[in-house]
């Protein structure tokens, strides 16, 4: 008897993902993406990675989705609607074919080639202190580099999105 939680969560992920791509309004698409990401966080909880699930919710849904919503609201024409793509046409059908083939190939390759035991080993939750110790010792260098890259990203993003204000002759900005 398949696990109801797994079925429900994977249903949420897939249906929201399809909705995110196919919704007419981009804002609805962003909401669909948010639901899909929350479903992925639920799957993390099912797999015993609770801290990761909270991390996913607070970073992805709490920050990235906000950014996406924000950008959608800024990228608008005066009429109020972004020019949306029309019916998929040839490119859409080709897309489905390509995507289906690749997904099938990947799934098939992993399932056949990797020796997988059907039983899940005993598992009593993520040992959080061990995770922290790992991050601080073995993963210290990537962590610091991550910090530097985040700083660079923030500075780069701000510089790119900056609006140049014209300066008046007496030096004050407009």
């Amino acid at each position: 008897m398949p696990d109801i939680a797994f079925l429900a969560l994977s249903g949420l992920v897939i249906v929201s993902a399809i909705f995110a791509l196919e919704a007419r309004e981009l804002i609805y698409g962003a909401v669909g993406l948010a639901f899909s990401l929350i479903g992925v966080a639920g799957l993390f909880i099912l797999l015993g990675a609770e801290y990761l699930a909270m991390f996913q919710i607070s970073v992805y849904v709490g920050a990235v989705v906000v950014l996406i919503l924000f950008t959608i609201m800024l990228v608008r024409r005066e009429s109020g609607r972004i020019v949306e793509e029309e019916e998929p046409g040839r490119l859409g059908r080709a897309g489905i074919l390509v995507a289906g083939l690749i997904a099938l190939a990947v799934a098939g390759a992993i399932v056949i080639l990797v020796p997988i035991s059907p039983e899940a080993p005993e598992f009593y939750g993520v040992p959080l202190p061990e995770l922290g110790r790992d991050l601080a010792s073995s993963y210290a260098v990537p962590l610091v580099i991550l910090g530097l890259v985040i700083g660079a990203t923030v500075i780069g993003g701000l510089t790119l999105a900056k609006v140049e204000r014209e300066k008046k002759p007496n030096g004050t900005t407009q």
């Binding site: 797994f6 791509l21 698409g29 990675a49 996913q56 992805y60 990235v64 990228v75 793509e85 780069g156």
Partner: protein
Amino acid sequence: MEPLSSYIILSAALLGIGIYGLVSKRNAIRLLFSVELIVNAANINFVAFARYSNPPMLAGWNIVFFSIAAAAMEATVGLALILVAFRLNGTIDVRKLNRLRG
């Protein structure tokens, strides 16, 4: 417990949806959605393998940790680029954004 193959199939399906979005959509923000879906598919795969290996490997979780952070940063820069592209061209239709402008 679900067998591991269920998680792999789910992750491959999500990957498929993401690739479909990348191939057939022409709104730049939808392309970003698709990229995020693909990254999440990979993350699910990592966590599933980390859980089902014997003994459970903590490396899977650490990789996903960095993956989520890196994907968030990439979304940030991508969105900033979309903003700039919109300001310069008035559109975010990627088929029209095919010229390098000064």
